[in-house]
Amino acid sequence: MKERLYASHITLLVFMIQTGVTALSLARSAAMYFGTNGWISILILGGVASVNIMLIGIVNRMCGGESVFAVMAKSLPRFVTIPIYLVFTVYLALIGCMVGKQYIHIFQLIAFPTASTFMLKACFDLMVIFLVTKGIYNIGKAATVFSILILWMVFLLFAFSNDFEFDRMSPFVFKQGHHMLRGAVDMFAAFAGYELILFVMPYADKSKKWIRSVQTGNLMTTLTYFSFVFISFGFFSLDQLKIMLYPLLDMLAYIQLPFVERLENLLFSFLLFTVVITVGMYIWSACESAQQVFPKANRNVMVVFIVFVSFLISILPDTLFQLELVLKYLTYGETAFSFGFPLFLILLLMIQKRSEVKARA
């Protein structure tokens, strides 16, 4: 009874990889870089990600769901691919560990000022090892359960229906913002992660629904971000948004129930589910890449080694500011990767097709 990653798994996996702590500051970025009606930028960025996913879809169609490593191995000699795979491994593991560290830092900021980030991160990384060693099918299943555990949070937006004011909106679009292009690249980090689906291709259910399910996952992320950012624009004024570190958390802090308040603390804890899937998928992809270099290595040992080394690296950035700076540069590279790598694969596949045609002739 062979397991497969069904379309629903892929959709929710993409949604879980994309959604992360960047969502907390997205409204601030939209206000800062795009200014009035900055929420529209979310739809534009979602559209850009969708175009990128189309490129991935083309790769998938051209190679028939084959592994990207197999595609590269067909055209490139091993002495060329090995350094590329090593770079992939290091880069993906690095992004994974920094995303995890960022979550831990924010948690420490809002709830545990005196706790040791070292211990919190070590505990978090143990959980990542526990997840990644279970394999991609179980990561997909875990993503499905976790997404159900956090999707209900969208309904919390109804709690702001009384405080939402259309008066806070403006008829002007994208005024009072600055560095729009740089901001767009920064904000695109919130959508990044879907490119990891390139590594999942050989494990997915071989159906045409595959790319549609990736698009649906991206659409879910876009709509979720859009609803949070849109409500934030109607809840806070533009100037308020610009100076708030995490507008979404501040907004959630307004929710009061008869027996519990300051819900942002608890709700932020729920984000752990999405962060663990995001980090887990980066580490899993890093392992996939490393496995090409060391095909005989024990997979579980490899996972432990990669997580351990990336844990040591994650100790280096001390403050949240330093960490976010490192992450910013890493995500620039990731954005370039998410567009460049599918294009590179399409090029390789075209060359392979042409040489096949020539060989047949």
């Binding site: 798994h9 709830a111 545990f112 299943k141 875990a142 308040e261 804890s269």
Partner: protein
């Protein structure tokens, strides 16, 4: 002596040497001997099938008599020994041996289940006799498609195991897998199906039950018709059903005997109980240790007043009370019911009240712990309820270490663990992963019968439709 010599009275008597309960009756005029265990046979059957016919025949008529029914000739000593142990009488005549099935020891009569009670619906429960259990199932499921395969487990003591399924509905891959697992068992003795289930589990180290065990025939009939297979073990009142998902343990037959709205409400109540059991005390520990800001001002005064005299950190306070509750539960379960009630009163009221007055614990924690304990008993399956109570301790400790973060780490670990689990190779968290939204109408709610058209997807049956009615 040879391991399996030709059957003879001497050999069989040697095998049962020092077994005073073995009855050896001699019929010198007929040149016949009978061996049997008095307590394993039905004496009326013995009288009717053997003693009366023997009284009415001469020595030369024995041959024709023994060639007919119910006398079965046996030429294997091991088979004869096993037959006597199973309640057969062995007749030795003219160097031939015949077995007559007379099994009929006194059994517990069919009674109400004490662990799985329902308010409405049938009240009969399985007994220790596999044949009585088979009869209870056959009476409710009168179909020639209900197939029964007999196997045996145990190297030293062979116990009968029956695999039941409905042909045409069950996926035979599951049946073959189950038969293979039962045949692969190499243990000296398995005395109960709850032990058997631990030998056929996909993951023996998990604390979650991977097969549903029940004492209720109506549950088993519904599982069989849903495309599951069933395993009955002789001398055990618990019957196994598989493949199983986590959510099946939250279903009760009552849900189907009541109106669907009431059934749905009760089922949702059980899921709420599940959440309360797992998290309530842990949330108390988390909030009172690290996140006081989450408590509204009015409630905060009460809480602080309640906790002001308690000298321990909340995690110790909570563990102390949780362990006390577990002690009370265990003591109540081991004692006769009348004394058990007294234990409940002494524990619940006296110790609880005294603990608060002595300043060992706060009132609010007593409420939290009691609520968690009550909620755990709402879960219909005792085995699942015990697993969940165990998990609760893990979450309380994590909440005591890292507050909400620890709580979420704990929940994540449980979810990741659950994703790995399978029952007979199918996902344990079906229908969430793989996502089968159609199944949700009979898992998270108890939809009206017109809505429950298909068999559960976990059964992987080809015969999917079970209800063709429009309403």
């Amino acid at each position: 002596m040879k391991e399996n010599p030709a059957p003879s009275l001497e050999y069989i008597l040697h095998e049962f040497d020092q077994c005073v309960d073995l009855i050896h009756r001699k019929f010198p005029l007929l040149a016949a001997d009978i061996l049997y265990f008095d307590h394993l046979i039905d004496k009326n059957e013995l009288e009717r099938e053997i003693l009366q016919p023997f009284a009415n025949v001469q020595a030369d008529e024995m041959g024709p008599l023994l060639s007919g029914s119910p006398f079965n000739a046996s030429f294997n000593s091991k088979e004869i020994v096993l037959g006597i142990l199973k309640g057969d009488a062995a007749i030795f005549h003219d160097s031939c041996v015949y077995l007559v099935a007379l099994y009929g020891p006194s059994n517990r009569s069919i009674e109400q289940s004490e662990t799985e009670t329902v308010i409405i619906g049938p009240h009969d429960a399985f007994t220790e006799s596999a044949f009585t259990n088979l009869s209870l199932i056959r009476r409710k499921l009168r179909s020639s498609h209900l197939k029964v395969i007999q196997l045996s487990v145990g190297e030293v003591v062979k116990s009968d195991v029956f695999v039941l399924f409905i042909e045409g509905i069950v996926n035979m891959e599951y049946v073959n897998e189950m038969i293979k697992r039962i045949r692969d068992i190499e243990v000296d003795i398995i005395s109960d199906s709850n032990m058997l289930v631990q030998h056929i589990d996909d993951y023996p180290n998990t604390i979650f039950p991977l097969f549903l065990t029940t004492e209720r025939p109506d549950v088993i009939v519904s599982k069989l018709s849903g495309g599951r297979l069933v395993v009955i073990m002789d001398e055990s009142p618990s019957v196994i059903s598989g493949p199983t998902s986590l959510f099946e343990f939250f279903m009760s037959p009552d849900d189907y005997y009541q109106h669907w709205v009431i059934g749905t409400a009760t089922r949702i109540l059980r899921y709420i109980a599940f959440v309360i059991t797992i998290t309530f005390t842990a949330i108390y520990v988390s909030i009172t240790t690290y996140h006081y800001e989450m408590i509204p001002e009015n409630l905060l005064y009460t809480l602080i007043e309640s906790r002001s005299r308690v000298p321990f950190p909340p995690v110790f306070e909570a563990l102390l009370m949780e362990i006390t509750i577990e002690l009370l539960r265990e003591a109540g379960a081991r004692l006769p019911s009348k004394i058990g009630q007294t234990i409940g009163i002494v524990g619940g009221i006296v110790i609880g009240q005294a603990a608060v007055q002595a300043g060992l614990t706060s009132n609010i924690l007593i409420i939290a712990v009691a609520l968690s304990a009550i909620a755990s008993f709402v879960i219909p399956s005792y085995v699942m309820s015990a697993s969940i109570r165990f998990v609760r301790f893990f979450l309380i400790i994590l909440a005591g270490i890292w507050g909400n973060f620890g709580l979420m780490i704990g929940i994540s670990v449980i979810v990741i663990h659950l994703t790995k689990l399978t029952s007979l190779g199918s996902s344990y968290i079906t229908p969430i992963a793989p996502l089968k939204v159609n199944d949700w109408r009979d898992i998270f709610i108890r939809g009206p019968f017109w809505m429950l058209k298909d068999r559960p997807s976990q059964s992987r049956t080809r015969n999917k439709v079970r209800n063709k009615m429009k309403r």
